[in-house]
């Protein structure tokens, strides 16, 4: 019964694997699908085809090599189960630890819980019960959190196994009951059957055969319902053992034989051998030594065939008892020697297996260390490369910035030089203009002095003539005419001089000043011929406007000339002068109602050429329109008046 307990302990742990792997949002590849499928079915494979585990583990490892972490974790779990199945506990522990490293995230809690049960199983097998409890309770906590009843049952079943191993049957039973309670009415499943089987074992070990038989009876009925002969055989075996130890040997024989029928039907030789060994043991209880010897020899031959040394040793032990009871000491001794030989082989094999496992663990650790060292070197190289890159980027940046700064400073220097040149040229031009202005100013000063002298001399001449005329009573008409001619000529020169001084003394000539001058001239003209009607019209909007001295002088002279012509040659009785501002232009019209003239015959006479030249010199246009007996009209149009030309 203890053997069954240990086997079922592993199965119970493995059946906790029935939880579904959380679905990944993306579509899985064929390899990933296979890994997930094997992960989900690993408990079934372990239970039904334990020899196939190694094959599946190898295939899974091959497929998971290039897959993401999650699939590597699932593969590590499969490896852990495979190692556990072959009693390579250290390797199984490493595999389970790898699972925890690969899936640290909380969303993979169920995978972690299964791994904790695996680790609990490892620590149970190595006798470190506190650690085993720690992991199993961690698994239990996760299953309780996600309310997974199968996981809860598995966790309690595994904890019960530790108590069974510690021969604390009461605690073991308590945990098994909690596990079964968690399943409730959900009995038609492996979890219920495994936990029930373990509980029945616990009852059997504590001598409560009736309770064990009740459980067996219930579970055999369930096995029949779900058509699971393999599980049924285990309960039949348990039942037979209960009857055997409660000395109901006929019933025990009946159930062992029922069990044998199922084992033969399934064809699993180890189970057949076990049942033959139990039948041999039962025959020994019944003192039917021949039957016992026959059954035990059958079991021994089966165990030898499948090389099942632990069971072989047990069969030999029972056979030795049979020989001893019969007094066949020689045969008993031979069997004992055979048993010891096989036992030694078994120990040796275990040692070799342990050594091999140790070597694998050592090699693995060595490789892991090498990998870790390589990783560190790789990281160091990466860090160095990164540092180098940083320096290169820094140098490049500095170079770019320095080049940029150099370019900007150089550009600025060029601009500065250009600015200095420009400034120098302007200053030179200013100096030149100022020099010219000074020279012109000197010339003007000289001119003013000259004008004063001329004015004084002309006035002296007039004064002298007037004195002569006053002092001497000149009766000679020729002499008088000569004196009058000189006086008149001198006076006109003085007028011209005064006009020039008038124009020169003002920086600019206003239209009011021009109007006053024109009116003054007209008054003098009226003295010469008083029948003429003058009409002078200057646009009031021009009052604030100014003309340059040259413009003012030339316009005044042109008007003088035009009025003089109208009086002298046209015999006009009406003369109209109009100065208007049209938009930005200055329009001057001098119109008379005189005799007019034919432009083709007169040509440029009567000062017309002089007037035209004066107007053109200030940028104005000069037009004259005249026909015989139709009067004369002069148009002057000045576009850029009042500005420097």
């Amino acid at each position: 019964m203890k053997n069954f307990g240990l086997i079922f302990c592993l199965l119970l742990a493995l059946f906790s694997c029935r939880q579904q792997v959380k679905k990944e949002p993306t579509t899985r590849t064929e390899s990933q699908e296979k890994i997930v499928k094997w992960y989900q079915r690993i408990s079934y494979i372990s239970n039904t085809h334990p020899d196939s585990l190694v094959y599946y583990a190898a295939k899974s490892q091959q497929l998971a090599a290039k897959e993401p972490r999650l699939y590597q974790a699932l593969d590590a779990f499969i490896q852990g189960v495979s190692y556990q199945n072959t009693s390579s506990y250290e390797l199984s522990k490493k595999a389970y630890e790898k699972v925890l490293l690969l899936v640290p995230e909380s969303k993979y809690d169920t995978i972690k819980a299964r791994t904790y049960i695996g680790l609990g199983s490892y620590y149970k097998n190595t006798g470190d019960y506190p650690q085993a409890f720690r992991y199993l309770y961690k698994a239990l906590k996760i299953y309780e959190k996600v309310n997974n009843k199968y996981g809860i049952a598995s966790s309690h079943g595994s904890i019960a196994q530790i108590y069974l191993q510690k021969e604390d049957l009461s605690s073991a039973k308590d945990h098994l009951k909690i596990g079964l309670k968690a399943l409730g009415n959900d009995k038609k499943n492996q979890f219920y059957l495994i936990s029930s089987h373990t509980l029945a074992n616990a009852y059997g070990m504590s001598g409560d055969y009736q309770s064990a038989l009740d459980i067996d009876k219930e579970c055999i009925a369930i096995c029949d319902q779900i058509q699971s002969p393999r599980n049924k055989a285990t309960f039949l075996d348990n039942k037979a053992n209960c009857y055997m130890y409660s000395n109901q040997l006929d019933s025990a024989k009946y159930y062992f034989q029922e069990c044998l029928k199922i084992d033969v039907a399934i064809g699993e030789k180890k189970q057949i051998g076990d049942t033959y060994m139990n039948l041999g043991n039962l025959a020994l209880f019944q003192n039917d030594y021949a039957e016992a010897e026959k059954n035990l020899n059958t079991s021994i031959s089966i165990f030898k065939e499948i090389n099942q040394k632990p069971n072989l040793v047990e069969s030999y032990a029972v056979l030795i008892d049979v020989f001893v009871k019969q007094g066949k000491l020689k045969q008993a001794l031979a069997m004992q020697m055979e048993k010891e030989s096989i036992y030694k082989q078994l120990i040796s094999e275990k040692k070799e297996a342990a050594l091999a496992e140790f070597n694998i663990v050592y090699e693995t650790q060595k490789k892991e260390q090498e990998l870790a060292e390589n990783k560190v070197k790789l990281l160091q190289n990466e860090a160095e490369a990164q540092q180098k890159n940083t320096y290169i980027i820094a140098i490049a940046l500095v170079a770019i910035f320095v080049a940029l700064l150099g370019f900007l400073i150089n550009r600025q220097q060029k601009i500065k030089t250009q600015q200095q040149n420009q400034e120098y040229k302007l200053k030179a031009a200013i100096a030149q203009i100022e020099t010219q202005n000074q020279l012109q100013e000197q010339r003007l000063n000289i001119s003013r002095d000259l004008h004063d002298n001329i004015g004084a001399q002309l006035t002296f001449i007039i004064s002298s003539i007037e004195n002569i005329k006053y002092a001497f009573d000149i009766k000679n008409p020729t002499l008088d005419a000569r004196l009058n001619s000189i006086t008149q000529f001198t006076k006109s020169t003085i007028v011209e001089l005064r006009d020039t001084i008038w124009a020169m003394n003002a920086a600019a000539i206003t239209f009011e000043a021009l109007q006053a001058r024109i009116l003054n001239f007209i008054e003098k003209a009226k003295d010469a011929k008083d029948k003429i009607r003058f009409d002078v019209d200057i646009d009031p909007s021009l009052n604030d406007s100014q003309l340059t001295s040259l413009e003012g002088m030339n316009i005044f002279r042109t008007l003088q000339e035009a009025i003089h012509n109208a009086i002298k040659y046209a015999d006009a009785s009406e003369i109209a002068v109009a100065i208007k501002k049209i938009e930005e232009h200055l329009e001057i019209t001098i119109k008379d109602n005189g005799i007019g003239f034919d432009a083709t015959t007169i040509g440029n006479g009567h000062g017309l050429q002089n007037m035209r030249a004066r107007m053109e010199s200030i940028g104005a246009t000069f037009h004259i329109h005249s026909e015989p007996n139709q009067g004369t009209t002069i148009f002057i149009l000045h576009h850029h008046w009042g500005k420097s030309t």
Binding site: L397, L405, Q412, Q419, E423, N437, R482, T500
Partner: protein, 93 residues
């Protein structure tokens, strides 16, 4: 990374300061040029005014040259006739 950020910050600051200096220089130059241009405009205006006045005075002098010759001729003729008259009347000594 800190080194790179530091370099970028320092050089960015330098560029900013340089840019500000350039702007100040450009503004000062602009001011100076405006002042010089105003001076040139004023001087040119003055020069033009003076030129026009000189033109006027030259024109007058040109006229006066003719007028002066005519006055001189008139005075000579007056004197000639006066002497002729004195001579006819035997008043010359």
């Amino acid at each position: 990374m800190v080194l790179l950020i530091g370099i970028v910050c320092v050089f960015s600051m330098l560029l900013f300061l340089l840019w500000q200096q350039f702007r100040r220089d450009a503004f000062a130059f602009q001011q100076r040029m405006e002042s010089l241009q105003k001076t040139i405009v004023a001087n040119n205006k003055r020069k033009l005014e003076q030129s026009q006045k000189i033109q006027l005075t030259e024109e007058f002098q040109s006229h006066f040259k003719n007028d002066s010759a005519l006055i001189g001729q008139s005075i000579f003729n007056l004197n000639y006739e006066l002497f002729e008259m004195l001579s006819n009347n035997n008043l010359l000594h």
